[in-house]
């Protein structure tokens, strides 16, 4: 049975990955998907195909020092404080805190979109590379036929892997046709 490892760090590629997993598993291959599921920018409803063995670096992504500080002091911390104050303070002060919590939520979304993502996505590939390299043991690379790097964020990890294991086929080609039944000879 052939074994394939698929690396996807961008939630926008999940549908393509799932179609690939379905084709590969249908053809008898064993697929492991290394993803950033549950990590930054990976919202709900982006579930990976259940037939694939899933390994994720998503939770670890939240624990990186700069990401953790951003989440604690910009997104979550002020919101928690304002909501708590709105519940406890009576009268106009409480109402002001409630309004402040709503304004903060709006501001946090804007800051995430306008400031955090543009800056973070530049270094996200390198950050995830470090985390992913720690999970190499879980990927079962020894028997893997190929590693498919699906998105740009996963390239630094894939490149590092290709250098560490020169014999391993690390490719950007997510090619479902590899699992098509052979065409009849003319």
């Amino acid at each position: 049975m052939s074994r394939v490892v698929v690396v996807v760090f961008n939630a926008g590629q999940v549908r393509k990955v799932n179609a690939y997993v379905e084709a590969a598993v249908g053809a008898g291959a064993e697929v492991t998907v290394l993803s950033a599921s549950g990590g930054q920018g990976w919202g709900p409803g982006r579930d990976l195909h259940p037939a694939a063995r899933a390994v994720t670096v998503g939770p670890a992504e939240h624990r990186q020092p700069l990401v953790w500080l951003y989440l604690a002091f910009v997104e979550k911390g002020p919101g928690v404080l304002l909501r708590r104050a709105a519940g406890r303070l009576p009268g106009p002060a409480g109402r002001a805190c409630g309004k402040g919590a709503a304004l903060h939520a709006k501001a946090a979304r804007t800051i995430r979109r306008r400031l955090f993502w543009p800056a973070y996505k530049v270094v996200r590939g390198q950050a995830l590379r470090r985390l992913a390299l720690r999970r190499l043991g879980d990927l079962g690379l020894d028997g893997a036929e190929r590693v498919v790097v699906v998105d740009e964020a996963a390239v630094p990890f894939g490149w590092a892997l290709a250098r560490r294991r020169p014999g391993l086929d690390v490719t950007r080609r997510l090619d479902r046709t590899l699992y098509d039944p052979p065409a009849p000879a003319p």
């Binding site: 590939g125 390239v155 630094p156 490149w159 290709a162 086929d169 950007r172 046709t177 098509d180 003319p186």
Partner: protein
């Protein structure tokens, strides 16, 4: 090499062993110039491009190139096609987004084609060779059109005259009959620039020449038509066989692409047999499915056809250019399948006419091939492109395959015999002599 032979630098990205559709013209051009006394140096794409990107080679084609022709393959970067991460450089491996943006910047600012690195290296190599032993003329064929930019740059650096051979069109979308690029795209600026300096611009049919003459009136006088033709070294028309007595074989010979009315051809053929005309006939499809490695699977799905080598429609697979006579020998009627507009001429039509068998057209009326077919004695065409009309034309062509006498067939072969590559290339070679004349 003799010192008094004019030296031609021929920039042909697709050249044997590639089997892309344009290589036959490129190969014939190099051979024709060599036979006419030129010292020819060809610059083509590196083997890796043919092996890994197009995945389409035919070593027999390279064997047929005149040994006197020097073939060089400047390198290029494979950024647009590279999928193996082990081959990524340090920048792309660590900062893929930055590397991609740099690549896109080059496409905007250097030349709007992914082949620009090949052109740059061709220019550098040409300069070195020119210093050692001067060239007299540069001939560039497109696509890719980076070869035109390379010819322009060589001309700027060395003062050499150059000719552009538009095997394909650059800024005209042949299939949509419309501009290929939006206004302001760098391709327009580049075409204006290379056209202004060119000694001649060559097109495969009059319709294309007229379109370009209208767009670049200042260069109109320097434009000429050099049609394709058939290659006598690859095809012996007399060996293509006499008509058989068994069930008729309708054949299409050539590359099948999604731009061709394949579905209409098959439907028309089946409508003909279902109506009782030549009911035992078969439709044989000879050739590659698409030009690229990944094309066949996609095309099978796009055509919605199951080619299984059995039944009435049979996919017979690729046939080497040098063995194409065998496919023609098995055919009784040739189906001329062409996609696109009045600007499209299929090079195959010249071989079709050379073998002297009935030809049935399956394309929109107004194809650039029609003026040549008009005087061919065994040409059958539908009034419009639908299954019913195609069936009628196919039935008539089948009747002609059964009933045409040797005199008619001979007249058809004689008519087709005039369209050899050499005959077509002669005016180009003469024009090249004029341009290089003052130099040697």
């Amino acid at each position: 090499m003799s010192a008094d032979r004019p030296r031609l630098l021929y920039l042909a990205f697709y050249f044997p062993p590639s089997r892309a559709s344009g290589v036959y013209r490129a190969r014939a051009t190099a051979d024709h110039f060599a036979a006419a006394g030129w010292d020819v140096t060809v610059m083509r794409a590196p083997d890796r491009f043919y092996d890994e990107v197009t995945g389409s080679t035919d070593p027999a084609l390279a064997d047929g190139v005149d040994p006197a022709v020097t073939v060089l393959a400047p390198g290029m970067d494979f950024f647009a096609w590279e999928t193996d991460l082990a081959r990524y450089g340090r920048l792309r491996g660590n900062a893929p987004a930055t590397a991609r943006r740099l690549h896109e910047w080059k496409l905007r600012r250097v030349f709007p084609e992914v082949y620009h690195s090949w052109a740059s290296r061709a220019v550098a190599l040409a300069r070195r060779l020119h210093r050692r032993e001067p060239f007299d003329l540069v001939l560039a064929t497109g696509n890719p059109f980076a070869s035109f930019a390379a010819a322009w740059a060589i001309s700027r650096l060395t003062g050499l005259p150059y000719i552009m051979d538009y095997r394909d069109s650059w800024t005209l979308d042949l299939f949509a009959n419309a501009d290929a690029y939006p206004p302001g795209h760098p391709a327009w600026k580049w075409e204006r620039r290379v056209m202004a300096r060119a000694g001649a611009a060559v097109f495969v049919n009059d319709a294309l020449r007229d379109w370009h003459a209208e767009r670049y009136p200042a260069a109109a006088e320097r434009m000429m038509t050099v049609p394709n033709g058939w290659d006598p070294d690859c095809l012996d028309p007399l060996a293509a066989g006499a008509p058989g007595t068994g069930p008729l074989s309708y054949a299409y010979v050539g590359t099948l692409t999604v731009n061709q009315p394949v579905r209409c051809m098959v439907d028309g053929f089946r409508a003909m047999t279902a109506a009782g005309d030549h009911p035992d006939a078969t439709l044989d499809l000879w050739g590659h499915l698409g030009f690229f490695t990944h094309s066949p699977a996609r095309l099978r799905a796009d055509f919605g056809l199951e080619f299984d080598g059995e039944g009435d429609v049979r996919y017979r697979g690729p046939v080497s250019k040098t063995a194409v006579g065998e496919a023609y020998a098995e055919a009784d009627v040739l189906v001329f399948l062409a996609g696109g507009s009045k600007y499209v001429t299929s090079g195959k039509i010249f071989e079709y006419m050379a073998v002297g068998k009935p030809i049935v057209s399956v394309h929109e009326p107004g194809s650039a091939a029609e003026p040549m077919l008009r005087d061919y004695p065994l040409w059958f065409r539908p009034k419009r492109l639908d299954a019913e009309e195609v069936a009628r034309a196919m039935a008539e062509a089948g009747d002609a395959a059964r009933s045409a006498d040797e005199e008619t067939r001979g007249a058809a072969r004689s008519y087709g015999a005039a369209f050899t590559r050499d005959a077509a290339l002669r005016p180009l070679q003469e024009r090249a002599r004029e341009l290089a004349g003052g130099r040697r």
